[in-house]
């Protein structure tokens, strides 16, 4: 499946849930979906569109626009283009259903996004810090308003 064919088919399958779907570059496709249908669209990406190979996940903080964007990097082993699957979250309500129920390997990346950005992944099976020390109380380091507080007792 080419990038353009995927974007067309994806938009036709989920017309109400897609905010935007576009080909950024050759081999790079970006999809932004609404938070309501997030889990449903993820399952459809895996089962209907063949994105069985999870690559990574991470977030970007936009404090000026009062939002954060969670990004999942996915790959289809046959068509071999990189899909960045995104969802926007308001900064005062950072909850998402966990995608470990769709791609098990997103566990590490969601744990990292949780400790670095403070995003809550509902029903994650093992939400403990991945990289930061277990007694870390110093805030969320990769947020833009983090000033290097360190451990506060």
């Amino acid at each position: 499946m080419t990038e353009e064919a995927f974007v067309e088919a994806f938009q036709a399958t989920h017309p109400d849930l897609v905010v935007s779907a576009e080909v950024l570059n050759p081999k790079r496709v970006s999809v932004v979906v609404k938070r309501e249908g997030f889990l449903h669209v993820s399952r459809s990406l895996r089962d209907d569109f063949g994105f069985t190979h999870p690559v990574s996940g991470g977030a970007v903080d936009y404090p000026k626009e009062n939002r954060m964007q969670m990004i999942y990097y996915l790959m289809n082993p046959e068509s071999k283009f990189m899909l960045t699957f995104r969802v926007d979250l308001p900064r005062d309500d950072l909850t998402l259903p966990t995608l470990t129920q769709v791609w098990e390997a997103m566990s590490f990346h969601e744990r990292e996004a949780h400790e670095m950005f403070g995003i809550e992944f509902v029903d994650h099976p093992n939400m403990i810090p991945l990289l930061l020390p277990p007694d870390w109380r110093g805030g969320y380091p990769l947020r833009k308003d983090f000033k290097g507080e360190g451990i506060v007792e």
Partner: protein
């Protein structure tokens, strides 16, 4: 995940971070006698916050901390970041620079794979000498690096727009000489290690990772190719000079620890042939486009991918019109493979004594997974 770990017969062993074979991480093993039920990787001992450091530096200064991800493999890691900058700033790279970059990337891949291979020999417990052999042979590459860049480990040789310097006079001949030497040694290793009965006993059929599991769990690099899945960024999205070079994606169908070791081993042979091709066919011309030191990138984002020795490295660079990156997300290969390692006790029966073999077949580099 499915087995409760508080069953009375199950004991939890903490392995590392001081253990000679574990590297800078701690592995928790839930064992019942010799059998391992559950593996938990406790990462983060070498977390330095490189993604945050990169946000506070100009594009050019970021190359230096970026290369600290994998010291044995700095050209590949540096290329991931440099090519992202080039795409964001719209910089053209001369043809010769692409070839010099590919040459260095392949040399670093051999360096890294030899190191991994020496550790794998060490982890089986029978071949301490092989680690010393590989160390000596890596010196051949380090001397080539030293002549080309002036440094032996961390080069910072790739700059946006090309490379720092041209090849010195007669460097191509020295590359060929090094390739011939390493080819001879390659034969020695194959006979002494890969075809050795003890090494086979320790590695064959240990920690089998089926192709569908490798894809589902997000394995990458030699781990994925050792499970018979032909995915390689150099082939799928040719960057640098890989579009012009003649090579094939190496896979092994046995899917065990031996297969993963063999993939690395055969990739050394493949990289040697690429080094030879580059030394013979490198085009002449300029090696660098001049780029101003302080530049502003217009707002946007770039996702660059390169095949490092441990697998696919992705650099997702967000720019907002300033002189620094807005955010850099590094998709590290070791983090993906460590998740596969955590699941291996559920996929296949693993004994405690196999753990060093299994973890070295993943070839982890914790500075990379922790960032």
């Amino acid at each position: 995940m499915t087995k409760p770990y508080f069953e009375p017969d199950i004991m939890r062993i903490s392995w590392g971070p001081q253990h000679p074979m574990s590297g800078q991480t701690r592995i928790l093993l839930d064992v019942d006698g010799e059998k391992v039920y559950r593996i938990i990787a406790d990462l983060g001992f070498t977390h330095r916050g490189i993604e945050k450091i990169l946000e506070n530096r100009t594009f050019l200064k970021g190359i230096i901390p970026m290369e600290r991800l994998v010291m044995a493999d700095t050209p590949n890691i540096g290329l991931g970041y440099v090519s992202a900058i080039e795409e964001a700033l719209g910089i053209e790279v001369p043809e010769r620079a692409h070839w010099i970059r590919s040459l260095m990337c392949e040399m670093a891949r051999i360096n890294s794979h030899l190191y991994a291979f020496g550790l794998q020999a060490e982890s089986t417990g029978y071949f301490p000498a092989v680690f010393l052999w590989t160390t000596v042979d890596r010196a051949v590459l380090l001397e080539l690096f030293e002549e080309l860049t002036g440094a032996r480990w961390s080069f910072n040789f790739f700059l946006p727009g090309g490379v720092h310097a041209d090849l010195p006079d007669g460097f191509e001949d020295k590359v060929i000489e090094g390739v011939h030497y390493l080819r001879r040694r390659f034969q020695d290793y194959w006979v002494a290690m890969v075809e050795n009965a003890i090494f086979e006993m320790r590695c064959d059929d240990v920690a089998i990772l089926k192709p569908e599991d490798a894809i589902r769990l997000g394995a990458t690099g030699p781990v994925l190719r050792g499970s018979d899945v032909a995915m390689d960024v150099r082939r799928d999205e040719p960057y640098a000079a890989y579009g012009d070079l003649d090579f094939e994606v190496i896979t092994e169908s046995a899917c065990d620890s031996m297969a993963r070791t063999k993939v690395r081993f055969r990739e050394i042979g493949q990289s040697l042939s690429m080094m030879e091709q580059i030394a013979n066919e490198i085009p002449s011309g300029p090696f660098r486009t001049r780029v101003p030191l302080f530049v502003r990138a217009k707002a946007g984002e770039v996702l660059s991918r390169v095949e490092s020795a441990r697998g696919e490295l992705g650099v997702h660079l967000f720019t907002d019109g300033g002189m620094n990156p807005y955010r850099v997300k590094i998709n590290s290969p070791t983090l993906r493979n460590m998740f596969v390692f955590e699941r291996m006790a559920e996929l296949d029966e693993i004994l405690v004594a196999d753990i060093p073999v299994v973890i070295n077949s993943i070839d982890p580099w914790y500075l990379d997974s922790d960032r």
